[in-house]
């Protein structure tokens, strides 16, 4: 019997189309993955806290101010940064460089500068005020600069530095905040929808103990030292006569200097900052509460405020929407209408229903192998049919 070309050709055709569909499936997968691990936050906030006062704790103020500078440089505006400094080093009578705070003995950058905005200063930096800021339970007359006005689409960076111990952080030599209180504060924030994702960085002694009690979702934590270890200072500035910056923050800043506003550096690289041979203490991390993989979480999700700008060349005319209620002409009828409108929280949890609402029929995409198997089966069927027909 002669070799029948037609079934072979048919087979080849089937294989090539299944390969094409296979390729098409990978592209879809990529698209899909971007939706999963790309962040969906819309605004960035930062809460930077230095909890220690007195001249010999100069380095803690320098730490907080350095992170403040980096975060501002990467795009977060002052209105979205809460800076809490427990003491005024720049105007301390012992400061040989009045009005300036340096984080390096080469005194290259004045991290205090003329445009610093300290929101909580001196004795206002207390554990109570810190928790009130986080949870939003401030008195009605608190100014906007002292409020953390975040919503459920805000990514927050919380950086804390000072003297700490096992399970506590010392505030101002007189009080302390425990890791349980901090975890509860973050849970309050979660339940009140005050953050989308939160990055918690802490540079104190025995820092890991502060984040080990966290239980709210979407929190990532970095600590500069393990329990039982001390976080050490980096170097002395002999012109000023103090230890000027801590090791972990020094290396964090070195890393952040390489980060520019649009960079694609990921958290995985941030976690490699200051290994034990540089820091002497061993940094610790917590990612089990975080939903996205760290290799796909960008630094700029927390440290910067990346604002995508779409330039379009089409125009549209804005038409008044007849459904919008004009508040100036509020009548009794329309008042009732607005009172009857039901409010609801937007979806935070990535559940089955919610993804089907937003992202399309993702799970209906067939597995690529199914395509190959079915096409092979189909061509076998056709081949046998044709054989029976021909014979």
């Amino acid at each position: 019997m002669h070799i029948n070309i037609t079934p072979l050709a048919f087979l080849l055709y089937i294989i090539s189309t299944s390969h094409a569909s296979l390729a098409k499936n990978t592209k879809v997968t990529q698209e899909v993955n971007k939706h999963f691990s790309g962040s969906s936050h819309t605004n960035n906030w930062a809460v930077l806290v230095c909890t220690s006062r007195f001249w010999f704790n100069y380095r803690h103020v320098a730490n907080a101010l350095s992170v403040y500078r980096s975060v501002k440089r990467l795009g977060i505006p002052d209105s979205q940064i809460i800076l809490m400094l427990a003491d005024d080093m720049a105007c301390n009578p012992r400061n040989p460089r009045p009005g300036k705070v340096y984080n390096n003995k080469d005194q290259a950058i004045d991290v205090y500068g003329s445009d610093v905005e300290v929101d909580y200063r001196g004795y206002e930096v207390t554990a109570e005020n810190f928790i009130r800021v986080l949870t939003g339970r401030l008195p009605a007359d608190a100014p906007r600069s002292k409020r953390l006005s975040t919503d459920d689409r805000s990514n927050i960076l919380v950086y804390m530095t000072g003297h700490g111990g096992e399970d506590f952080l010392k505030f101002q030599d007189a009080e302390e905040i425990s890791n349980v209180e901090l975890a509860d504060a973050f849970e309050q924030m979660w339940q009140r929808r005050r953050y989308h994702e939160l990055l918690f960085i802490i540079d104190t002694c025995q820092a890991v103990s502060m984040f080990k009690r966290f239980y709210s979702p979407n929190i990532m934590a970095i600590a500069s030292s393990q329990v039982g270890e001390d976080s050490l200072s980096h170097h002395v500035d002999p012109a000023i006569g103090v230890y000027i910056i801590d090791r972990y923050t020094y290396h964090l800043l070195e890393f952040l200097e390489r980060v520019s506003p649009g960079s694609k550096e990921t958290m995985e690289q941030l976690f490699k900052v200051c290994p034990k041979h540089q820091c002497i203490s061993t940094p610790g991390f917590s990612t089990h509460l975080f939903s996205r993989p760290i290799s796909r979480t960008l630094i700029s999700d927390f440290f910067g405020s990346v604002r995508d700008v779409d330039v379009t060349d089409w125009s549209f005319t804005a038409k008044p929407n007849p459904e919008v209620v004009d508040t100036n002409k509020r009548t009794k009828a329309s008042g009732n209408e607005s009172a009857n409108r039901r409010y609801s929280y937007s979806q935070q949890f990535v559940t089955k229903d919610s993804t089907s609402d937003r992202l399309g029929t993702v799970e209906n995409t067939p597995h690529p192998l199914v395509g190959i198997a079915s096409s092979i089966f189909l061509c076998l069927m056709v081949a046998t049919m044709m054989k029976t027909l021909s014979s």
């Binding site: 007195f54 001249w55 010999f56 105007c91 301390n92 009578p93 012992r94 400061n95 040989p96 009045p98 002395v236 002999p238 012109a239 000023i240 006569g241 103090v242 230890y243």
Partner: protein, 624 residues
């Protein structure tokens, strides 16, 4: 209880063991494994972290010193001129004082001059004081350094506290006059005018004492009055700064490097320890800083020493040390309170804290307490035995039918009239009464000794001798008179034993309390007194002469004589003058410097010793 009873005969051995155990324990504290390294407790100090900005040269300082030494002008005028040129606020204070009380007791005058560098950016609520004493017949070369430093300090704006440069005359009298006026206190025999200006509460101070125009190393003086010491952190700051600037530092002129052989190491450290204790025993301060410590201001004296063989470190280095200490003190937020206030220094890098040196003393005083306790227990056992015996004899007398001697009958009836051996008029007095009478008498004798020096002048006129010899004679006479007066009241055996117990406890408490305030004095007294007094138990008449000799050996008089013998190495001519000198110095120090050694010896130690002396003359034999 029977175990205790078995121990009672061995109580003397136990006490001697405890005594020597305490001494050995104290000596071992200087051992490498036991002594501790000095460390900083105050985080705010940040010693030596900042670079020095002292930029005057050796020549400039030398010229300033030459200007001050100019014979045509007064030292105070020159100082005023330099300080005004440097831009400081300059003020003067006049004061009067009486230096000698025995001999030509005249009132002298003095002037203090001080300049203030005000803190440019803070309120003048706190200050530090740098004291440069104006020496009587020499020149304090630190003046040049400090004046150059003051001029530079005035230009800087990182001083958070005011800095006062105090140039005081006449040693501790000038410092005391200034401090008293600063704090609004009057203390005899110094009287001072009110200060024209102040600068807030003094946080810390240090004195610089430079007698020659070159310096090889710096000796630190820490002892204050009556056993007070500055905070150990201040000492650590001074040591650290001196080492950073490359100079050698000693304490009590002892350099005590760690040595390879353990024996040499412990010997050298022990030598330094004992030297420091020797200085503290008399309760006088080794420098002006003692006056500051009296007011609760931590202070220390830096004394420079020059040895041509060792070379000259130069003025500038010393200036940097002074500046460094000032900057470290500038960083302080509170007064020194973190580190130790009670310590002994075996070297500049080690310390022995109160927690380490009190237990050996406790062991020695425990020896005295255990001896007293053993006597009480013994008395209890003897009493219970006697009552048993009396009951037995009573039973016997009831069963006996024969006629007995009147004496025997009376003895059985336990009558007082039967005791013909103790034909003492005081045999009726209960032990408590004997104790009270003896103690009151001994303390009255103490008062006599305390007030005796008031009669020095009349005594010297009566016997036509200089006043210092007369005061010595007076004290010796009253001492011996007291000995005779107290023995005129004879104690019974019971009274003697009870007084012995009370005196042992009295001794333990007294020395313990003194040791808390001035440990060196307490330790010295314990070493001298505990062992002999354990051996002074009454009731062993055949050793009476020996006991009296031992008791006399530890009398304040003989201890003074022995000390003079030791310092003079047995040369008889100098011993007498040394003896006289000793008494005069001790008395004068109590008057001029308010050291309480003389008061303590007269009012507390001498009466205690008199009680022991009375016990040695008590009669009665313990029937074994």
């Amino acid at each position: 209880m029977s175990g205790l009873k078995k121990l009672l005969p061995r109580v003397n051995k136990i006490c001697i063991l405890l005594y020597f155990g305490g001494i050995v324990g104290f000596l071992l504290l200087s051992h490498e494994g036991i002594r501790e390294n000095c460390y900083f407790s105050e985080n705010a100090l940040l010693p030596g972290l900042v670079d020095s900005k002292f930029s005057a040269s050796d020549d400039q300082i030398h010229n300033i010193n030459l200007d001050i030494l100019d014979p045509n002008s007064e030292v105070t005028d020159e100082l005023e001129k330099f300080m005004l040129r440097g831009g400081l606020e300059v003020y003067r204070q006049k004061f009067t004082f009486q230096e000698k009380f025995v001999g030509n007791a005249r009132i002298q005058n003095g002037t203090n001059i001080y300049g203030i560098v005000r803190a440019p950016r803070s309120a003048s609520t706190e200050c530090i004081v740098i004291n440069i004493p104006i020496l009587n017949n020499k020149h304090n070369f630190a003046m040049g350094i400090v004046l150059a430093l003051a001029k530079e300090m005035r230009k800087q704006f990182y001083w958070a506290k005011d800095v006062i440069f105090l140039f005081s005359e006449h040693g501790s009298f000038g410092a005391r006059a200034w401090l008293n006026a600063y704090h609004g206190i009057v203390s005899y025999p110094v009287s001072a005018n009110q200060l024209p200006a102040r600068a807030g509460s003094i946080q810390s101070a240090f004195t610089v004492h430079m007698e020659e125009d070159a310096v090889s190393f710096i000796n630190l003086l820490v002892e204050g009055y009556n056993g007070q010491l500055p905070n150990l952190d201040l000492f650590n700051v001074a040591v650290r700064l001196i080492k950073i600037h490359g100079m050698a530092v000693s304490v009590n002129y002892e350099f005590v490097p760690r040595q390879s052989s353990a024996m040499d190491d412990i010997k050298s450290h022990l030598g330094a320890t004992l030297k420091m204790m020797k200085k503290q025993v008399t309760g006088t301060s080794s420098g002006n800083h003692g006056e500051f410590i009296r007011h609760g201001i931590e202070a220390i004296t830096l004394q420079t020493v020059y040895n041509p063989q060792w070379g000259n470190a130069g003025f500038v280095r010393l200036g940097r040390v002074i500046e460094g200490i000032s900057r470290s003190l500038n960083n302080l937020l509170e007064r020194f309170h973190q580190s130790f206030f009670f310590y002994i220094l075996p070297s500049t890098d080690n310390y022995i804290s109160i927690g380490m040196y009190m237990p050996p003393l406790g062991l020695m005083l425990a020896a005295a307490a255990i001896k007293a306790l053993s006597l009480i227990l013994e008395a209890n056992y003897v009493n219970s035995e006697e009552t048993d015996k009396n009951e037995e004899t009573k039973k016997d007398s009831e069963t006996k039918e024969s006629v007995e001697d009147i004496d025997d009958i009376l003895k059985d009836m336990d009558s007082d009239y039967a005791n013909k051996e103790n034909d003492n008029k005081n045999s009726e007095a209960p032990p408590l009464q004997q104790i009270l009478i003896t103690m009151v008498t001994s303390h009255m004798m103490g008062f006599l000794v305390f007030y005796a020096p008031v009669f020095t002048e009349t005594w010297s006129q009566m016997f036509n001798c200089p006043q210092d010899i007369s005061i010595t004679l007076l004290l010796v006479t009253v001492h011996i008179a007291g000995m005779f007066i107290i023995t005129s009241y004879r104690l019974t055996l019971e009274g003697g034993k009870s007084l012995y117990v009370v005196s042992l406890l009295h001794q333990g408490i007294l020395f313990g309390v003194v040791a808390i305030i001035n440990f060196s004095l307490g330790m010295f007294l314990a070493v001298c007194y505990v062992l002999p007094t354990i051996l002074l138990q009454p009731g062993y008449m055949k050793f009476n002469l020996l006991r009296k000799f031992v008791a006399f050996l530890v009398s304040p008089l003989s201890i003074a004589a022995l000390i003079c013998l030791y310092t003079c190495n047995g040369n008889p001519a100098t011993v007498m003058s040394e003896f006289v000198n000793f008494h005069v110095t001790v008395y004068e120090q109590s008057q001029t410097q308010q050291s309480w050694l003389f008061d303590f010896i007269a009012l507390l130690l001498y009466p205690l010793w008199l009680q022991f002396w009375a016990i040695t003359s008590s009669e009665g034999e313990i029937l074994t």
